[in-house]
Every structure is written in C-alpha cells, then in structure tokens.
C-alpha cells in the first residue's frame, strides 16, 4: 500500500489527509468548530502546491465498474510521464502525475475534473472512457479552460475547444469496417447489434444511413437490435440473428455491444452453431484487454476494427510493448487501442509544449494543431484543426491466443470527422479551431458558428 501511495499521491494530499484525520476526531461540543476546520481543509490544497513541476492530471476510474478498462490507462499515462522524466522532462521541468479517482460515477467525474483544474491547477488532463463521463466533464473544462485528451473511440458529433479526441470517430472505425465487409467479404445483410447507449445508437444510425444511401441496402436487409448493459441472456437475439442470416444472403453482425455483455453473446453464437465463417461478427468494443478475461474459443475467427492491435508488426510497437511489460512487471499484460491513443496524445501534447515553449493552455491549443507524431502502427498521427487525429484503420481476426490477426488495413491514414456526413443534423457542420474560425460547429450552409443563426432561420421558417 505504501509504495502505491507514494506512486500516485501528490504530496499536498498527504497533509490534507492528515488534517482531515485530525479534524474528524471532534467532540460533540466542538461540532461547529470542526465543521469550520473541515470546510477550510477542503479548500486548502491549492495553496501548498509548489510551482515547479508540470502537472499532468489523470482522470480515470480506479474503482467501480469502469476500473476494469480505465485503470490500465492511468498506468499508461504514468509510464509515459516516467519515460518523459527520464529524458529530462519538458522545458527543463519535471512532470508530475496528479491522479484522482472518479470511481465510475459520472457526477463525480465533473467534481474531480473541477478538483484537478481548480484545486491542483494541472496543465493538462488525460482521462475518461465513457461518453457520458466526457459529457459530464465537458462544461467544467470549458468553464475553467483546461485541456483534456480523450483516448477512446466514440460516437463523434462533438468538437470542443478544450478537448482533443485521440480515439476513433465513427468514420475511423465503423465505416471502414463496414466497407471491408462489403467489398472483401461480400456481405449483403446486416445485423447492427449494440448496447443501448449513445455510442451504438449513433454509430448504427450512421451505418444505416451509409448502407442505404451509398450502397442501396434495402430496409429488409438491416436488422437493428439494442440490449441493456451487461445483458447476459442472448438466446432469443442470437436465434433471431440465425434466422435473419439463413435467408440465403451473406450476413454479418456489426457489434457495438459493450464490455461484459460480449462473453455471453459470443458463447451463445458458438453454441447455437453460428461460425465466424457463416456469420462473421465485427466488433468495435472488443480489444486485447477484453479478450484477456474470456475463453476465446468461441470468438476465434470473428473480427474487430481498431486503429491499433498489439499484434502489429513494427519496432515502435515492440518497444512500446516491452516498456509496458517492464513497467507493469507482468509478462501477460496486454496493450490495446486506447493505450496507443494516450501514447499519441501524450506525445502530441509534449511536442506542442516544446513548440510553444510553455504549458499555457491557449498557447498549446494553437500550437498543437498540425503536430505530427509517430503512431505505433508504423505511420504518423497528425492533429487536425477539428481536434481529431489521423489514424489507420485495421481489421483483425480473433485468434485463440487472445490476439488479433490483422486481415486488412486502410492503405493510408483516415482523418477523424467530428460531424458525420451521414446524419442529417450534422451534415452541414464542420469544426475548425484555428484562427479566425475558431468554431466547433460551423454550419457551412448558413455560414455561421453554432446554432444562433440556425435558430433564427428556423423561427423565420415557422413564421412563414
């Protein structure tokens, strides 16, 4: 515990904690006084902070349901900070990690984000996994003008001045995967199965529009299905997929099923005799980390689309894996796509700090656009003006060792698209945070930023 504490704790926290312990031992008669001291101690930590190191906030859940996925990302950022410090830090200053635990609780994410920015005065934050947690912290980052690097694939439809999206947007994962199935596998019927939350909903809407508009797929040939989080009884749904796929046309499942629900899903597929050769499943949320906790036998041959696989055969990747295994001390530990996203995000931020010569948020925001750093798949990632990055898209086939066999890859990198071309609401929107536009939702049809004119026009239309 001690080593752990030393590793993750900024020093002021200790003092704060000591104080807390002292003041919880109040007597009844001193209730009011204790309350006062407690209150003061809560607001205390910002004053004792030393000005010297550059502070890197880490906002990943270390407890609760999301700890499964997020705690390794915390370790990743800590490893990157350690590596950076070994190289002499940045601008001659050391980096210091400030770790807080939002405990998989969305309101707590907002509170912790505020703590990082307002109390600890961190220079940059790496964090979040779920969309809802990002949505929860977004107003805080905008209000307090912080920097957030968000490393997970997401539904798009967002571009904030203060957030950098290093994970895939739908056009960097879902659409290439579907194109692969169309062109290489010859799929004609589609099952879009997902967990009922915003990422699958949006992705499936985009895919539905894409399939219908671009490839003339009929309504009857698309089956959309949503299940709750952690769904474990897949019998009916798999039976439906089986029937849907037995109409004589090649069928594939595009799965945006989240986390825990996947194991029972694939098991049921295998048990009902659905083979990857008959009906392949391409998943957007199943990576090495998820595979490490399950019996991979039923999954072998199914597909996943990511921007990185641990099995990528490049030296950068092997170096990264070696460093990661050394850092965790666990020969079995795996790397995955969001880790690579943090790797890219961290290097981009470091590069921008060097370029700007300061950690000042506004300076970084300007400097980082256009920054290009190597990714782990043998190419380069560039920060686009819409705060998304360029990524290659890889399709991998699950192997029995829990790794992916890469079967297809986009010829070049794809730039992330904040606003999907396939959704009516966002078709006309673009994001560009360079001067003079500086706008996250510029409407090219009306030529204005944000909704104000759109609203006026809508009202005018109503008046007519």
């Amino acid at each position: 515990m001690n080593a752990y504490r030393r590793k993750i704790l900024p020093r002021p926290y200790f003092r704060n904690n000591l104080r807390t312990r002292l003041c919880t031992k109040f007597r009844p008669s001193q209730l009011a006084a204790a309350a006062l001291v407690t209150t003061a101690s809560l607001g205390f930590s910002s004053q004792v902070l030393a000005e010297d190191p550059i502070k890197v906030g880490i906002l990943h859940s270390l407890s609760g349901t999301m700890a499964i996925s997020e705690s390794t990302l915390k370790d990743t950022v800590e490893m990157l900070i350690e590596q950076q410090n070994e190289q002499g830090g940045l601008l001659g200053r050391q980096l210091e990690a400030v770790v807080v635990d939002p405990a998989s609780n969305w309101p707590l994410f907002a509170e912790r984000a505020r703590e990082l920015l307002a109390q600890h005065d961190v220079d940059v934050v790496f964090g979040n996994w779920t969309s809802v947690s990002r949505k929860a912290v977004l107003p805080v980052f905008e209000e307090l003008n912080g920097l957030l690097f968000y490393p997970v694939q997401y539904e798009g439809e967002e571009s904030s001045e203060n957030v950098f999206y290093t994970g895939a947007a739908p056009n960097q994962q879902a659409i290439p995967a579907v194109e692969y199935l169309l062109n290489e596998v010859g799929v004609e019927r589609w099952v879009l199965a997902g967990t009922d939350y915003v990422y699958p909903r949006t992705t499936n809407r985009i895919l539905e529009a894409f399939l219908k508009e671009e490839h003339g797929v009929a309504d009857d040939d698309i089956l959309i299905n949503y299940t709750p989080f952690g769904h474990s009884d897949w019998q009916n749904i798999v039976a439906e997929i089986r029937r849907f796929g037995s109409e004589g046309k090649k069928t594939a499942v595009v799965s945006t099923i989240n986390g825990d629900a996947n194991v029972p899903f694939y098991r049921e597929l295998a048990n009902q005799g659905i083979d990857a050769a008959d009906i392949p499943v391409v998943a957007f949320s199943v990576g090495e980390q998820e595979l490490s906790g399950i019996d991979t036998a039923p999954l072998v041959g199914h597909l996943a689309a990511w921007n990185y696989f641990m099995s990528v055969d490049t030296d950068e990747n092997y170096d990264f894996i070696d460093a990661w295994i050394d850092y965790t001390g666990d020969e079995e530990s795996v790397t995955n796509d969001p880790m690579e996203a943090h790797y890219i995000g961290f290097n981009m931020w470091a590069e921008a700090v060097r370029k700007a010569g300061t950690t000042d948020v506004d300076a970084i925001k300007d400097a980082i656009i256009g920054v290009t750093v190597p990714n782990l798949t043998g190419g380069y990632a560039a920060m686009m003006p819409n705060h998304h990055i360029t990524k290659p898209v890889l399709i991998g086939e699950v192997q029995d060792n829990g790794q992916f066999d890469i079967v297809w890859q986009t010829p070049s990198t794809v730039a992330g698209d904040a606003w999907s071309d396939y959704l009516p609401g966002s078709r006309d929107l673009i994001a560009d945070w360079r001067a003079p536009m500086r706008c996250g939702n510029f409407n090219v049809a009306t030529g204005s930023c944000g909704g104000s004119t759109a609203a006026e026009e809508a009202e005018a239309a109503l008046a007519e």
């Binding site: 407890s63 349901t65 700890a67 499964i68 705690s71 290489e184 596998v185 010859g186 009922d196 299905n225 949503y226 299940t227 709750p228 952690g230 769904h231 474990s232 009884d233 019998q235 009916n236 749904i237 039976a239 439906e240 029937r243 037995s246 109409e247 004589g248 090649k250 825990d260 194991v263 029972p264 098991r267 049921e268 295998a270 048990n271 009902q272 005799g273 050769a277 980390q289 490490s292 906790g293 399950i294 019996d295 991979t296 036998a297 039923p298 055969d313 030296d315 092997y318 894996i321 070696d322 295994i325 020969e331 192997q399 060792n401 829990g402 790794q403 066999d405 890469i406 079967v407 297809w408």
Partner: protein
C-alpha cells in the same frame, strides 16, 4: 488451374475470374487419391530427401509474396504437389502459424502466446526452440484465400474415413452443388453408408435438381426444415415454371407450419433455460431468506465465489476443463458454504430478529467481498473454459437445436432442487430446520441445538449459491460484478414464489424465465425485463405472500 470444386459462394466469386475449366469427375478422383496418399504417406513417416526439400522450399517461397492472387496460385501449387506435408502447411497457413524467420527459414509456430514463441521447421519438422516474435514474419492471407483453403481441406474431408468430417462436409454442400459436382455426387451418395450424411447429400443434390426445374426434387426436399432448403424452395416459387412453383409453394407451406411449432418449442426452451438460471440463483436465497428470515444481500457474492472457484480449479488442473468443472461442484459448494458460516458467525448471529439490519450488514459484506476479489485477484473478468462436452448444441431437427451448456445447467438446476427437497424433507437436518423455523424456543427445549441449525442452514443456502456460481461460470462472465447482476432477480423470484416455499421458487423462476423470453422478441430485451419487474411489483401488492403463501395460524400474524 484449379483442381478442386469450390462449392462456397465466396470462393466461387474469388475464383470466378481465373477459372479456366470447371472441375470434373477425374479431379474428384484425384482428390480421392490425394487424400488416400496423404494418409498413407504420413503413416509411413518417410523423411523426404533433400531434392524434395528444395521443391518444397520453392512451393513455400511462392507463398511469401505480396499479391493475394499470386498466393492463391501458390496454394493451388501446394495442393497439386503431392507433398505429404501439404496439408500441415495449409492448415498452418489458415491459422496464421506459417511464418518466415529473419534468416529465411519457414517455420510453423506452435504456440503464439507471449513474446517468445516455440517454433518448428516447416520442412524438416524439427523443433527450433523459441524465437522472438520480432524475428518472425507471418504469411498473411485474406478472406478469399481463407475460403479457398477451407474448401480445399473440406472437400478432401468428403472422402475422409472420419464420419464426423463427412457429415460436416455434406452439410456444407447444401445449396452449393453445381452441375460439375452433381454427377460425382450421385456416386458418392451410392457409396455413403451413414444415413444422416446420405440424407444430406440427397437433399444437396435435390436442391441442384430443383434449380434445374426437376419437379421430382420437391419430394426429396419436402419436410426438411433446413434454411438452405427453404431458400431453394422460395427461389423455385419465384421461378417461371408454374407447376414447379406450385409444388414448391405447397412444400413451403407445410415447412412454415412446422417451423412455427419449432419456434414455439425453441422459445419455451429459452424460457426454461433462463428460468433455470433464475432458480439456481434464487434457491439458496429461498433457504436463507425463506427459512431463516435472513436477508442476505451478499448472496450474489456467494454466487460469485462459486464461479471463481471454478476458475481456480481450472487453473489448478490446466488442460482438463471438464474434470475441473466437475470437481468445482463440491469445491464451489464448500467455499461458499464456509464463507456463509463466516458471515453467519461474524455478523448475522448478532442481528437475530432484526431482518432490516441484516440486510444492511450483509450489503456491506457484499461490497467487501467484491472489492476483495478486485484487489486480490483482478478487476478483470477471468477466463473459464467451457469443456468440450458442454459446447455446441443437441440437434433435434434443422430448425430446433438445444444448446448443450444451457441444457446441462437446466438439468443441474433440477438436480440441485431435488437434492434440496430431499435434504429438507428426508433428513434430520431438514426436520430440525423446519422445527426451529416454526418455533425456536420449543425446538430448543426439545434438545435441538438451534445455533447449530442456524449455522448449517445458512451454510446450506450459501453452498447452493456457490453451486449456482459454478453453473453460471459456463454462461456468463466471471468477474467481480457477477453477483450484483443476479441479486435483485433472485429476491424477486423468492418473493414472487412465496417465501419459505421451495416449490414456489422453482415455479416462480421457471415461469418468470418463460414470460421473459416470450415477451422479448415482441418488446425487446430491456422492456421485457421492465415489464416482468413491474408485473412482480404489482403482483406482490396484490398477493403480498407470493404465489404459494404459507398458510395457517403462524402466517396470519
């Protein structure tokens, strides 16, 4: 030039551009010869001489190119060379294990876990020890090649001595027979002795005949529930020949009728299987809650412990998942029962007669147990392997097959239930438990050690939760959150069935499962669950004591 008939649509598509001539009967014979020779040569284990190695190396070299069409030709070349190692190469290539080391040697990777992989020489078959994955380059294939490889291996299997392989082959041929294959197929049907494989092959041929407009084929297809048959009949209905279309329509109608019945049966099975999971999860609770009146919120975590025991057993006995699973049944019971005793002695005995307080205290225990597993083992899910005999499904007919793992769980649930009934009805412990439940003071004065009975009852209920965990490890994730997903459902089942009534729990669990599965296709998974919950809430308001309330004076109070 290709030598195999390529029955799969994608494979056909992949080869469409290059196929010069369709495979003919002599090619099939060639395959037959090839397969015979493969087995014969392999049996003699002759080591090929150097000249052969040079040829073989050339064959493999041809694979290590960038162009996929070139690789396809290289695969054909390997098939045509009657090298005895060809089949091993092809399957290694299919699995992505055929790789090339930096020194140019071709190797087969034996195990690709970790960073260092054990490999053997692809030509000589001698073990080369471990190689770093950095030194190796995989020979990549794409889907078209994968299908080509599978076709190549599978058509060979049609002539295999292994019955299972032949059956699988026949299955695959359904709807894929073309004119070139039709003729030799008739010969194969003649030769085939296995009824099942034979019936399949006849159907496969009939589909082809139907496509050719042969009305007699409808008779061969009538009554088959196989989706491919249905597709073929559907096509015939759409076809130009009115007579054939009418016959096909008639056959189709009877098939549809049959399918509806099968779907009904399938839904019933799904419901019973879901119900059996609910019963398993709830039945331990029916004992601790129903008989002792203890609200054990840590019940879910006891289930989780059972599941983790299964995982631990499989770790202890690597390579024998089935044995480990069977051994986990007593082990899971024991672990959960011991934990139950600890909980009873440590907390619950101090809270006698304060059910709401036990609820809070055991909830605290559940949090501790969860976190214990998270920090002690891992926050990640654990891999529990499904043994061979529990994978797959029992095929009743082409439209109805029952998944084996769920069938085993269903049977297991019934066995556990019967066992519990026996314990409660036929043993001294059961008698004492019932006595203590009804009148504690009186039972004590009769010389029954009530404390001991409490401990044993709680251990029994907890142990059964452990058994549920063992079963659930075969259906769902084994992770720290496992228990949480079942606790509310378990309480619902017990309360719905009537507290203190094991039969009630069984009936409630199974019926809730069936209701849920009937609702699901119609309302969707989430809504179905909400409807069931609301139904139970309303039901409890109407009949606060559940389906089978305890009667009599004692219950009136």
């Amino acid at each position: 030039m290709r030598i195999f008939p390529l029955p799969w649509p994608v494979a056909v598509k992949a080869s469409a551009g290059s196929v010069a001539g369709r495979p003919s009967r002599c090619l099939v014979l060639l395959i037959l010869l090839l397969s015979l020779c493969l087995t014969a040569v392999a049996a003699q284990a002759q080591s090929p001489d150097a000249a052969e190695d040079a040829v073989a190396l050339e064959l493999l070299e041809a694979l290590d190119v960038d162009s996929y069409p070139a690789k396809g030709e290289a695969i054909d070349a390997i098939v045509q060379s009657d090298d005895p190692r060809a089949r091993d190469w092809l399957s290694a290539l299919l699995d992505g294990r055929l790789q090339r080391a930096d020194d140019g040697r071709f190797v087969v990777v034996l195990d690709n876990r970790g960073r260092e992989w054990p490999v053997e020489d692809a030509l000589s078959g001698e073990a080369l020890g471990q190689m770093s994955r950095r030194e190796l380059d995989r020979i990549g294939i794409n889907n078209a090649l994968r299908n080509q490889l599978r076709s190549a291996i599978a058509v060979v299997d049609l002539y295999s001595a292994d019955l299972a392989l032949r059956r699988a082959s026949a299955e695959r041929l359904l709807g894929e027979v073309d004119a070139d294959l039709a003729e030799p197929l008739a010969g194969v049907i003649e030769q085939e002795e296995d009824r099942q494989a034979r019936a399949r092959l006849i159907q496969a041929l009939a589909i082809h005949r139907l496509e050719q407009g042969d009305i007699d084929a409808v008779a061969d297809l009538k009554g088959s529930l196989h989706p491919r048959v249905r597709v073929a009949l559907n096509r015939a209905v759409m076809g130009d020949d009115q007579v054939v279309a009418d016959a096909a329509q008639a056959a189709l109608n009877s098939i549809e009728q049959n399918l509806r019945i099968n779907r009904g049966l399938e839904t019933l099975y799904f419901g019973l299987s879901l119900g059996s999971v609910l019963v398993l999860a709830a039945i331990g609770l029916a004992i601790t809650f129903g008989v002792m009146g203890v609200i054990n919120m840590a019940h879910g975590e006891l289930i989780m412990l059972g599941a983790y025991t299964t995982w631990a057993m499989q770790q202890l006995l690597p390579g024998q998942p089935g044995l480990a699973l069977i051994l986990s049944i007593p082990a899971g019971f024991l672990v959960a029962a011991l934990m139950g005793i600890a909980i009873e002695r440590g907390v619950i005995q101090f809270l006698k007669g304060r059910p709401l307080e036990t609820l809070l205290a055991t909830f605290g225990i559940s949090l501790i147990l969860q976190q214990l597993v998270r920090t002690g083992i891992s926050p990640l899910n654990r891999t529990v392997i499904t043994p061979e005999w529990m994978s797959g499904s029992l095929v009743i007919n082409d439209a109805l097959s029952l998944t084996l793992n769920r069938m085993v769980v269903l049977g297991f649930a019934l066995v556990v239930f019967a066992g519990l009934m026996l314990v409660m009805r036929r043993t001294r412990l059961g008698l004492e438990v019932r006595a203590v439940t009804q009148n504690r003071a009186m039972a004590r004065s009769m010389g029954i050690r009530a404390t001991r009975v409490d401990i044993l009852t709680f251990a029994l209920g907890s142990g059964v939760a452990g058994l549920a965990g063992v079963a659930l490890s075969q259906l769902t994730n084994v992770g720290p959150n496992l228990g949480q997903n079942y606790i509310i459902d378990s309480f619902m089942v017990v309360v719905f069935g009537g507290v203190g009534n094991l039969w009630g729990t069984l009936v409630a669990g199974l019926s809730l499962g069936v209701i849920n599965q009937i609702l699901e296709p119609w309302a969707g998974a989430v809504l179905a669950k909400i409807i069931v919950l609301v139904f139970i809430i309303l039901f409890i308001q109407k009949r606060p004591r559940g389906l089978f309330p305890q009667k009599g004076r004692a219950a009136e109070g």
